[in-house]
Amino acid sequence: MEKSLSWREFIITRLIQSSGYSAILFVALIFFFLLREGLPALGEVDVSSLLNFRWYPIESYFGILPLISGSLIVTLGAALIAVPFGIGTAVYISEVAPRWMREILKPLVELLGGLPSVVLGFLGILVLAPFLRVFLNLPTGLTAFTGSLLLGGIAVPTVVSVAEDALDSVPRAYREGAWALGATRWQTIWRVTLPAAKSGVLTAVMLGVGRAIGETMTVMMVTGNAPVLATGLGSLFAPVRTMTATIAAEMGEVANGSTHYHVLFFIGMVLFIISLIVNVIASSVVFRAKKRAERILS
């Protein structure tokens, strides 16, 4: 009996272990695949022409700078919307709202997270873009800003639910201690609860940003897809073309193994590396914050 138990234990441990390791394996395999399909692009196209300003693949102009800048500006705009709004909502749900309100809000936010992005894209094309064009007096409503607003909307539920969990796990004693010292509710939230939940909130922000930078369907529908190099804040209100939309729009057409095909994979690689950097920065900040907290506690 005991023997079979330890046997079972052994198998279960290995199973769990292998599913843990499989995440590493899959990421490595995907990255390897991207490298294999994307790196030949460097041999077929000069680095200088990859860093060019014109993206017109049917005549072999493979400048990816406009695409990178397009993705960055849309994501930046989305983060500027999703971070304050998401953290604000999380703070309200976790710290301020009465219990009944919280029980309505939380599932609603999660429902928002389940909205298919195509549906949001429809809303964007039919409602938001025409409205923004008239309201902001723009030449067209299909701009980076429209994409940012919708992506912000997509990222908010992610930010809210992760940040809310982090705030929720701050021990009640922290807040009570602050109140006992005479801190107001706002001071408690700003100086005690939020800093205590910092690593979780930061994870929330990074997950939100990751969600935004990888989103494809909505941005393809509402940003106009014009490969213009974004040079400043003004570009936020002009059409842009993102890396994801480019891959999605052009992948179906390319001949397998052509230069264009390799360049599209190269763009995928760049996208992968950007989100890798975002994640590494996030986890290193989280790690450092933890170490300091441990020092204080000890």
Binding site: F53, R54, W55, Y56, P57, I58, E59, P66, V118, I125, L126, A129, P130, R133, P139, T140, G141, L142, M217, M220, M221, G224, N225, A226, P227, V228, L229, A238, P239, R241, A248, A249, E250, M251, G252, E253, V254, A255, N256
Partner: protein, 291 residues
């Protein structure tokens, strides 16, 4: 990509439901099955043909998908479709790639199409020369008042680069048919993934100019009358002006098969050139192929 997938899904649903209904004919054999894929310009026409033809010949099944001319030709080159639809001629590279796969693309002209240049009805501009349209799209003109319109910025709309219509428009309008010309679409041209995207933006935005196949232009948008040169008459696109060659932006639509068609594919293509099938062409707003 998603649209292609959903179309495929839809096609497969139709396919499976059909196969249930005429089980008796046992038509699951590949000999009765035609896979047809490509140009989004042609997809509605191809669907209408396939529907009619399958009604008259219940033993034949035809699956139609869109995705763009490049997508269809790529599929033919890879040997995954029987007929590729294209709104442009096959490129030399594509032919040589096909031949290295052991496939010989054969061209069939199945209909003609005019490209209409469309603007919002609020826009007072009614007519343009080809050169003016070229200059608008290349970015030389940035304001409608440079071509006799109101003081409004010009918002240029185009299909994505995988669209045969995009390539045709580039060659015929932007470069005015001159192969040496290296004029490009202005980088600020919005590249929209579908005809519907262009139509909804033109309908909504008085700054916009777009282009689309004649068969796809709804009645509430304004088509521009086009002159080939300054001093020549401005002509609106229609079946008559395409056939008498007075409208400048008209092209042939193609189907490509691997080798000369045989069996049911030959029957189908012969039927497509019949009066009955060409009537469907006219009903959908395209121009029947000249025999």
């Amino acid at each position: 990509m998603k649209r292609v997938l959903s179309l495929l899904l839809l096609a497969s649903f139709i396919f499976t439901s059909c196969s249930k209904s005429n089980n008796s004919s046992g038509s699951d054999s590949p000999a009765n099955y035609i896979e047809n894929k490509g140009s989004d310009t042609i997809v509605n026409l191809a669907l209408a043909w396939a529907e009619k033809y399958q009604g008259d010949h219940p033993e034949v099944r035809i699956s139609v998908t869109g995705g763009g001319s490049g997508t269809g030709i790529a599929a033919l080159v890879n040997g995954t479709v029987d007929i590729a639809n294209a709104s442009r001629k096959i490129k030399d590279e594509e032919t040589s790639e096909a031949q290295s796969n052991g496939i010989t693309p054969v061209e069939h002209i199945i209909a003609r199409d005019a490209i209409a240049v469309i603007v919002n009805p609020e826009n007072p501009v009614n007519e343009l020369t080809l050169q003016q349209i070229s200059d608008i799209y290349s970015g030389k003109y940035k304001n409608w008042n440079e071509v006799g319109g109101e003081d409004r910025p010009i918002v240029r709309l185009s299909r994505e680069t995988n669209s045969g219509t995009h390539v045709y428009f580039l060659e015929t309008v932007l470069r005015l048919g001159n192969k040496e010309d290296k004029t490009f679409f202005s980088t600020s041209t919005l590249l929209l993934p579908s005809s519907e995207g262009i139509i909804s933006e033109v309908r909504d935005n008085p700054n916009a100019i777009g282009y689309d196949g004649l068969g796809y232009v709804p009645k509430d948008l304004k088509m521009i009358a086009i002159a080939k040169k300054v001093g020549e008459p401005y002509v609106l696109p229609s079946i008559d002006t395409v056939n008498d060659k007075s409208y400048a932006i008209a092209r042939d639509l193609y189907m490509y098969t691997n080798g000369a068609p045989v069996g049911i594919i030959k029957d189908y293509l012969d039927w497509i050139l019949s009066d009955e099938a060409q009537q469907i062409v006219a009903d959908l707003g395209f121009v029947p192929a000249i025999k």
